[in-house]
């Protein structure tokens, strides 16, 4: 089920200087720890002057849409899904 939310979330972001890749490693949401197993897509968008980075990532059983506000470097969780019918 796809669930639209907008709540602060703890994210660990890693940068691999050799591959020049950035990827979230794990998140903590609702006091639960979710290791990220796959980064599906990374894209950006602007809202006025602020640039946002969106990471669409998956843990073993869940999907998360993580949004990084580059103005304050805060993360928000905007969407979760278990890939099943809503």
């Amino acid at each position: 089920m796809v669930e639209k939310i907008s709540s602060p979330v703890s994210v660990s972001l890693s940068f691999d200087s050799k591959k020049r890749k950035v990827y979230p490693k794990w998140i903590i949401w609702n006091n639960r720890f979710y290791p990220i197993v796959k980064v599906g897509l990374h894209h950006t968008f602007r809202q006025g002057r602020t640039l946002f980075h969106v990471f669409s990532v998956a843990s073993k059983s869940m999907f998360f849409r993580l949004v990084l506000n580059t103005e304050n470097l805060h993360w928000r969780l905007e969407e979760t899904s278990d890939g099943e019918l809503s």
């Binding site: 599906g40 897509l41 950006t44 968008f45 006025g48 002057r49 669409s56 890939g83």
Partner: protein, 419 residues
Amino acid sequence: MHIDLNSCFATIEQQANPHLRGKPVAVAAYETSNGCILAASVEAKRYGIKTGMRVKDGKLLYSKLIVLSPDPWKYRSVHLKLKKLLSYYTYDVTAKSIDEFVLDISDFTKISPCQDKVRSFGIMCDVAREIKQRIRKEIGDWLTVSIGIAPNRFLAKVASNLHKPDGLEEVNKDNFLNCYLRLKLTDLPYIKMRNAARLGSMGIYSVLDFYHAPLWKLKVAFRSVNAYYWYLRLRGYEIDDIEFGRRSYGNSYALSKPLATPDELSPILSKLVTKMGARLRCAGYKARGVNISILYSDWSYWHKGASFENALFDSRDIYKKAFKILCQSAYQKPVRELAVSCFKLVKLDSLQLGLFENVDKKKDLVKAVDKINEYWGDPVCTGRFAITPARMFLTEPNSVPDRISFGGVKELEEFSLKV
């Protein structure tokens, strides 16, 4: 070379969310039962679910269909990544739509050491395979493209449609008759029911008939210069290598509840005009014409346009003209869809001074408001404004959402410039 991203929006959603891969997914304008399906995943297409269907019809075909709302920035981002990757192969990359690109790589074979046709096709195929591989590796491992290679853009598009998904086909002087034999008339791009009927009236029922038809027959069928264009297209001549300039700007909205009177419609009209005006000025234009079109709930249609001596650039002035046109509609029926557009575009810098008002002052004011809106909102793409007409506050917050238009790439210019 024509490159087509398979099931674009749906595949990108599956790319973003790995848990959706291998499942029937549809991206619809609205997730409600009457929402129109914009893209169906490869798996959904196997159940007969197609673009243009209603969500309820899609669910009738497959009850567990996963329906998602569109996320325009996700698709634009993939489009830009694709364009960047393809630009590596040639400077002549044309985006035909959000999911289609045309590459002129005729020079690619010229600089290669081999001159014979067979080997040069081999090189083209190698390039196509490399593009496919790089898309999977650098943009997304779930993304597939169908590639068509041919002497002209039209036949390259035909070739890319021959094998989907993940196809690679060529139409050349040796196999084009076989390809034509495999296709129906309506399989050809731009030939749908009306054109097929036109051709049918001259006894042309198949693509082979179309190819063999003499020019005079096509002239009678089409009654325009299109006859000659089709004659050339089917013979491999390039006539579609033209980029048409922008001639109008417009915005439309399908209303969630049926409003009928001009007063009820004015807040939505105000939002449409404000968004359109911002896009118009951002591109450096003003307009000498405004058009309103209305689709009523009973599927009847009304539209009216007006031209003016002075070009308009201030959204407030455009709104006044648009509202006046709206009031001229003789019908007061529930409205299903309201659209406003402006035409007769002229460059914004050619400013005619007015006798009765200080146009320079107005221009500066509008420029300042646009700057504030750009800084604190996103007027061009998502339609978020910091300063708006008070009338606009009467609209629902999610009305006139950000959308990617079908078929054209004109709106892509707006965000490509911004990113």
